[in-house]
């Protein structure tokens, strides 16, 4: 029981984090099945924007809609169901230490499991479920690690586990926050390629924040440039001009230290 591809829409959304305005009146439409990269300097609001999309950050002003429905209108169980349909690959991965790979991957589907079945999944998962986890781990390239404790994996392998967890969730959209910030360039390219391929295969909406402009241009048909919480440009990749990028990264002197 998968999810239909998810669409997102932001209508003049702002987010205040403490006294700073992290997102400033952003309006954005992302269609079901689309692939969008968010680019921009550190602190531009890319992570906050992704947090809005999976309802882990609350909009201070404006409305975020998931599949056309404003998040504040969702009941508790509807919100839970909506979140279960959005896979998120965190910058810090946030795997659960002390659990094995198979348990971490199964935890991705908690949103659709009762407490009893999640308890069973952690302690004594059914054969079919383990087989399903194994198939996904094969897809991301680390099937032999299925019963390893996650602490024993390398950085790249942990990232594969995080991707597998999001896939096991069987989502309608994948969100990834700087998935390549902690791996070497060759692996970075592989990871972005893999996420793009997987989402195309399953018809998932894919939103990814990226520092690396070359990767963003190579793999995404649409780029959204963010600067200081505002949208600097939102354009098909073919139509991008060098000036657009310059506007994003040319720093005023007082910004140099913060970047």
């Amino acid at each position: 029981m998968g999810c239909p591809g998810t669409s997102f829409s932001l209508d003049h959304v702002s987010v205040d984090l403490g006294s700073t305005r992290a997102i400033d009146s952003v309006t954005l439409e992302i269609q079901r099945g689309e692939a969008v990269a968010f680019v921009g300097p550190s602190g531009a609001g890319k992570s906050t924007l992704l947090g809005l999309l999976n309802a882990s950050v609350r909009a201070t002003e404006g409305t975020v809609r998931l599949d056309g429905r404003p998040i504040p209108d969702l009941s508790r169980s509807e919100l839970k169901a909506a979140r279960a349909c959005i896979g998120f690959i965190h910058q810090d991965l946030h795997l659960v230490p002390g659990l094995r790979v198979v348990q971490n991957v199964i935890a991705g589907r908690f949103g659709r499991m009762s407490f009893a079945s999640s308890l069973r999944g952690m302690l004594l998962p059914r054969r079919e479920m383990v087989a399903e986890v194994f198939a996904i781990l094969q897809r991301v390239g680390i099937p032999q690690k299925i019963f390893e404790p996650v602490e024993r994996l390398s950085g790249g392998q942990k990232q594969r586990v995080a991707i597998a967890r999001a896939l096991f969730q069987d989502p309608g959209a994948l969100l990834a926050d700087e998935p390549v910030s902690s791996v070497d360039p060759a692996r970075a390219r592989d990871t972005v390629a893999l996420l793009r391929e997987l989402s195309r295969e399953k018809g998932l909406t894919l939103c990814m924040s990226l520092h690396n402009l070359d990767l963003a241009r190579e793999f995404f048909p649409r780029l959204v440039g963010l600067r200081k919480g505002r949208i600097a440009f939102d354009s098909p990749t073919d139509a991008l001009t060098p000036e657009m990028f310059q506007s994003l990264y040319s720093l005023a002197p007082e910004e140099m230290l913060d970047a």
Binding site: L79, K80, H94, F110, F115
Partner: protein, 291 residues
């Protein structure tokens, strides 16, 4: 050089350390620890000499003939050690579940509302008023049971229940529940929040996120600490013998009163072996868990 910001003379930490050292000196002076009166008199010295001279020659049989039918000394010490362990284990079998439950309720993570959730007004009201109340009530309760030592609880329960085993077990279990709860709650709160939040962000409920997001990280530390408290419970259980419970303390006190110092050392070494065995056992289990 003119731009160099002024360097604080005494950092806050240094100041606290200096204050503690001064307080220690004042306390020693107040208690008269610098005066010659703290040295034992000649009578006390000879008792001490007699006592410590038996350290290397603990008794293997009774120092004066016991009434007929008395168990041999070493068997008696062994039975006392087993009884000591039984009291400690019964107390821990109450203290660990109680400490776990109270520890979870006393952790801040348990009560943290979902950051992105759009809770109903009623839920928000509960989160603002009832949750902090329950949290601080739990912490107050834990602080209370913990601040009363097991010996004091024993005095209370002896008065209430008499010299039954239940009094000794409860006397240990109550303060230990409080201590375990406090340390468990801190261990739970120290676990990184990211994994639990990530599970909630993908639709997991509070209980699922708590049990499988925070607890797995805290569990090894919590079980190691529970084992350490079991060792403490062995000592407490031995000491409760002074009140007449059949643990090692009872026999230590009896032999001491009869000036049978060799027997005292026999019981002391038995206690030492008991605690060493518990330590070895917990070490072996921890190695198994880690592997």
């Amino acid at each position: 050089m003119r731009d160099l910001p002024p360097r604080p003379l005494l950092g806050k930490r240094t100041a606290v350390l200096v204050a503690i050292a001064v307080a220690a000196l004042l306390a020693a002076w107040f208690l008269g620890l610098f005066e010659s009166g703290t040295l034992p008199g000649s009578g006390g010295l000879s008792v001490a000499a007699n006592f410590f001279s038996r350290a290397l020659t603990p008794a293997l049989t009774y120092e004066t003939a016991p009434p007929p039918g008395t168990r041999p000394l070493l068997l008696k010490a062994l039975i006392a050690a087993v009884d000591t362990a039984v009291f400690a284990a019964s107390a821990m079998s109450i203290a660990i579940p109680a400490g776990l439950l109270l520890g979870i309720l006393a952790s801040s993570v348990w009560w943290v509302p979902d950051p992105g959730g759009h809770a109903s007004p009623l839920a928000r009201l509960l989160a603002r008023s009832l949750f902090p109340f329950l949290w601080s009530t739990t912490r107050l309760f834990i602080g209370f049971v913990r601040s009363i030592h097991e010996l004091l609880w024993a005095v209370l329960f002896l008065a209430a229940f008499g010299l039954g085993s239940f009094a000794a077990v409860l006397a240990i279990a109550i303060p230990y529940s409080g201590i375990l709860a406090k340390v468990f709650s801190e261990m739970i709160d120290e676990a990184p929040r990211g994994p639990g939040r990530a599970l909630q962000a993908s639709g997991a409920g509070t209980a699922q996120a708590f049990l499988f997001g925070y607890l797995p990280r805290a569990l090894p530390d919590m079980s190691a600490y529970a084992f350490y408290r079991f060792e403490c419970a062995l000592r407490s259980s031995a000491i409760l013998g002074f009140f007449g419970f059949p643990t090692l303390g009872y026999f230590i006190a009896a032999s001491f009163e009869n000036l049978h110092y060799g027997e005292v050392w026999t019981y002391l070494y038995t206690l030492f072996l008991l605690i060493a065995a518990a330590d070895w056992w917990s070490g072996a289990l921890r190695r198994d868990f880690a592997a």
